[in-house]
């Protein structure tokens, strides 16, 4: 059989300058969204552990809603739907960051809850018996241990969210996939360009994995 199509490395590397323009956007949406999502996730995770039934219910409702709907629908809702309510446009970058933040927060809050609950009851009792208040016990004893245990799951969520940003080409934000699509529209090099797009995602996600593994290793020295 004749090979009809040859992978053209030249074309692949030629797409790089265009694709690289998408990287700052992909990174901004991913890490901007994840940073806010982490804060929100801690908040809702702690609410889900609260003794108050109402607060627990608020957390559960939030988690169910944002875990139970696709992130693509969420970003479309924010970008196209929300402006009709607030009466003004929302720029695509803000919409993307908001969608990643709200979506990842739902998953991160579950990671936080699981991490905190995994710390043995005796740790809390030891803190309280020394005279530390409940918040102090949480801050100095429970949280540092829980956070360390959460690192692998957080890394996982980070990777998922980074990949989720690829869907946001639909709202026209110039992230990696969008840059690729524009480039392909003029050059028709779909194979090489999407290959390079995939490679660039790999570079980002593997860098994150590597950084977190370092962090985890450093944290584990003492244990």
């Amino acid at each position: 059989m004749d090979v009809q199509f040859q992978f053209d490395w030249h074309a692949a590397f030629a797409s790089l300058p265009y694709l690289l323009e998408g990287i700052p956007w992909t990174l901004a949406i991913s890490f901007g969204g994840l940073a806010i999502g982490f804060v929100l996730g801690i908040l809702f995770g702690l609410l889900s552990l609260s003794p108050s039934r109402l607060l627990r219910w608020v957390a559960t409702a939030y988690i169910e809603i944002f875990r139970g709907t696709p992130v693509l629908v969420q970003v479309l809702f924010i970008f196209y739907g929300l402006p009709q309510i607030i009466g003004g446009p929302i720029d695509a970058l803000t919409a993307g960051i908001a969608a990643i933040a709200l979506n990842s927060a739902a998953y991160i809050s579950e990671i936080v809850r699981g991490g905190v609950q995994s710390i043995a009851r005796g740790q809390r009792e030891a803190g309280l018996s020394l005279g530390l208040s409940t918040p102090q016990t949480f801050r100095y004893i429970i949280w540092p241990q829980a956070l360390r245990r959460m690192i692998p799951a957080l890394g996982n969520q980070g990777i998922v969210s980074i990949k989720d940003t690829s869907l946001f080409s639909v709202i026209g934000v110039g992230e990696l996939v969008r840059q690729g699509q524009i480039y392909i529209a003029t050059t028709f090099n779909a194979l090489e360009t999407y290959f390079m797009v995939a490679m660039l995602y790999l570079v980002i996600t593997m860098s994150l994995s590597f950084a977190l593994r370092m962090l985890e290793r450093r944290g584990l020295v003492g244990q």
Binding site: G122, L132, Q145, G222
Partner: protein, 248 residues
Amino acid sequence: MTAIVHMDKINKHFGNLHVLKDVELDVAAGEVVVIIGASGSGKSTLIRCVNGLEAFQDGRIEVDGHALAAHGKSHNALKAVRTEVGMVFQQFNLFPHMNVRDNVSLAPIKVRGTDRPAAEKQANALLERVNILEQADKYPGQLSGGQQQRVAIARSLAMEPRLMLFDEPTSALDPEMIGEVLDVMRELAREGMTMMIVTHEMSFAREVADRVIFIHQGAIVEQGRPEEIFDHPQHPRTQSFLARVLKH
């Protein structure tokens, strides 16, 4: 004789289970009280009520003048009691993410507001006292059980407690490490520390206790000097319990 602990008709339930039944107990300053009884009789629950780790439903506990009310509704008293009462657990419960010195100095720094150099100096002195200063920079996971328990004792002592609670401090230890922990406790008793100790080490109890309390199904059925309880138990429950545990 001033009582440091005064327990007045304490009743505690876990759901339908009546765990403590009208418990009346006074502990005098400097007294060493050992609590014995079968598994599930309520020994842990009893001493955990003293520092408010367990709430009780009925009665009153006074610890060094601070009154703990039923249902744990006495926040300020609870805080005061916990800073004045140390507790040593069966499972040590050291903080695994901190080195030994930080385990000991954490509470003085955060609760008492001691500055770090002073707290570390005090920690070193306490670690010296329990013979483990050379391990100060290690993490709990790098120590043997006996070493960990001695660190846990030092950690409690750092708050300069008026009373120490021990809940089976040697039960999780390999036999060859029990001695080193009991030595530290013996030394504390000799220095006049007020202690409430739950233990299955009967010969240790006989040696250090000023008073032995036998508890059965949540009620104190007999108490007295160790030689009275161990050599001439009066209550049939005490007799059968001791016959069982002293056999080996």
